[in-house]
Symmetry: C2
Subunit: 346 residues, 2 copies
DNA sequence: CAACAGAATTGAAACCTTTCAAGAGGAGCT
DNA sequence: AGCTCCTCTTGAAAGGTTTCAATTCTGTTG
């Protein structure tokens, strides 16, 4: 195909066979040029390479994968592509995949089990080398099905109780703890935990950590109240703000620890726009330390998770499971860190 | 393979051949069950389906793709995975792909041409059915190379001058225009355009639209000033805010139109935290209407682009180019819309 | 009962790459 | 000349699916 000419869609592209014919060598030699160039004499190599160029040869990954029995691809099934936390994790995974010269499928389950299943089905058909997933439900049977078929799978930012998979997560109990300890240090004695549903393991853990810290400080149990939300979204944060504002002032918390930054931002916005001050009337701690946390009207104190490291470690684990015959599942836990900003320090 | 048993990694999984043997039929029949079930008698079909279940058969997409000469996969090469605008576009694409039962590769060039090239190379090897891309440089040669190989390619949210590809974009000149018209309507007579670099086509278009509206309103040319930034990020917005604040008050604009919401949020934050009021001291209009725009301390007036529709249309175009032999390239332009909020209305 | 139509099923070939045992060719040594 | 030892190259087979022409089977009609 001469330069500048567009191949009509559907037309067959050059294969190793065509290259071999053009260069006047055998198939095997072309393959050697591609995979073991040192075994081919310089002259032949050059001839083959010229033929490749002339024909615009592009390796066919499907054929490679078929032959090899597996593809050179990893996949990450995200829970929510609009949540910056997950896009950062994805970036970490991407870097690791790139370093290993693997392609990465990114899918988005959008929090729906049915979409997750569809994606998992496709990925299995693709014979991806490994799957990283933040599942809608870490106990779901569909994950076992994948494993039963022999596809390495690592759970990201969730934990499964029976440890039958590798997983990477951040210690959320500890995260809840340091958030509330910070508020206690700042002198707060009435605090709200805003978040939900508690069926999300994470949220429950953060809430547990919060209560532990509270109890250890010897504060009265009923002064730490739960403001439940139905999702971890900005709008739920706003609505929680209204409920908070509706409480009688002597029972109203002076600080809120939110299960994630989206809720915190919603709460922050609702608080400010209804004329109350942050942190004067209400101190706020978020969770995740997304980029917008620092960029909020009142920069948000937040619990930071090592997102890139999370992704990178998950990718490393899944590659180990794929390559290393003596692989053993492990549960890796990262330590979160409090980033104090104006929303609690003012 | 009996239920509950994990296939050792690397072990071969059941193929149509195995299914055929188990069900006591030929290969072709199994394939017919999969692809043309109506041609197979009910009894046989049932027998084959049971065999598939028993063996845990999963179609091998590589083999399918190899045989078919193309894969059942679309790809979107994003410019910046951390920008919510692009994740929304991706969501639109995803919906369209799902409806057509295609898988979607999402890649992130992270604004780097080298990564973009790597991704394009991989995608070409995968023989994806079509590529959607928001390119680092719409004029880049690498795009032509793809097209020359016969892979349909649609440019998203950018335009190429020679119209040699399909593209979908939003009319940015119009967007700039309506933003500034809105500010003029609100009585502003000194306005800043904050954004850059102008080498980004989009940014330049918005700036042009702004000037056109300004000129048409008969306002003095030098009362619309340009505050250039080196990137479209929150931190650049903050720094622009400092520069704005440094201007002598009689020349200081009373309103700013920002090239995107990230800049606007940075500017908003800097303005508020330095004690000035929005919109009292400075009215702000953003661009993109990302979720956080509405959730900002002062909800942000912004120019909304039909992001999902953008993605969906792009996917439709690329599928048309792949399937329809009489496909003709087209440049689709969407109309942006102003969403007025407190940051200009207060 | 023979012939036939239509439905159901079969078997082989093709897609492209990689691998590997085997072969060819050349150089150096005795 | 005959031999070994190298390096380089070859050719065939395998991997899983789909397609399609060819074949077998079932039931009906004359």
């Amino acid at each position: 195909m001469s330069v500048g000419e567009r191949r009509p869609p559907g037309a067959r592209s050059a294969s190793v066979k065509d290259v071999a014919a053009t260069a006047g060598v055998s198939l095997g030699t072309v393959s050697n040029v591609l995979n073991r160039p040192e075994r081919v004499s310089a002259a032949t190599r050059e001839r083959v390479e010229r033929a490749m160029n002339d024909l615009g040869f592009v390796r066919n990954e499907s054929a490679r994968a078929l032959r090899a029995g597996k593809s050179r691809t990893l996949a990450y099934v995200m829970l929510d592509a609009t949540n910056p936390f997950f896009t950062d994790v994805a970036q970490g995974i991407e870097l690791a995949a790139e370093a290993a010269d693997l392609s990465l499928f990114i899918c988005n389950s959008d929090n729906r089990a049915s979409r997750e299943d569809t994606h998992l089905g496709h990925l299995q058909q693709q014979r991806v080398q490994g799957i990283l997933i933040t599942p809608v439900d870490p106990e779901a049977d569909s994950l076992d099905t994948i494993a039963r078929h022999g596809t390495p799978l690592v759970i990201v930012d969730r934990i499964r109780h029976d440890e039958s998979f590798c997983s990477v997560a951040v210690d959320d109990v500890l995260g809840g703890r340091i958030a509330v300890e910070h508020l206690i240090d700042r002198g707060h004695t009435r605090v709200a935990f805003v978040g939900g549903p508690l069926s999300i393991g994470q949220v429950d853990d953060r809430w547990r950590g919060a209560r532990e810290a509270w109890a250890e400080a010897g504060l009265p149990e009923d002064a730490l109240i739960l403001i439940p939300t139905t999702a971890l979204s900005v709008s739920e944060g706003r609505s929680a703000g209204e409920r908070l504002a509706g409480l009688p002032s002597r029972r109203r918390p002076t600080a809120a620890f939110c299960a994630n930054d989206l809720i915190a931002l919603g709460l922050l916005q609702q608080t400010i726009s209804s004329g109350r001050k942050v942190p004067g009337d209400l101190a706020i701690v978020g969770y995740d330390d997304i980029e917008f946390a620092a960029a909020a009207a009142v920069p948000l104190t937040s619990v930071r998770q090592p997102r890139h490291e999370l992704g990178r470690m998950a990718a490393d684990l899944v590659m180990d499971e794929a390559d290393n015959p003596r692989h053993a599942h492990q549960q890796v836990t990262f330590t979160p860190e409090l980033v104090a900003r104006a929303s609690t320090l003012g």
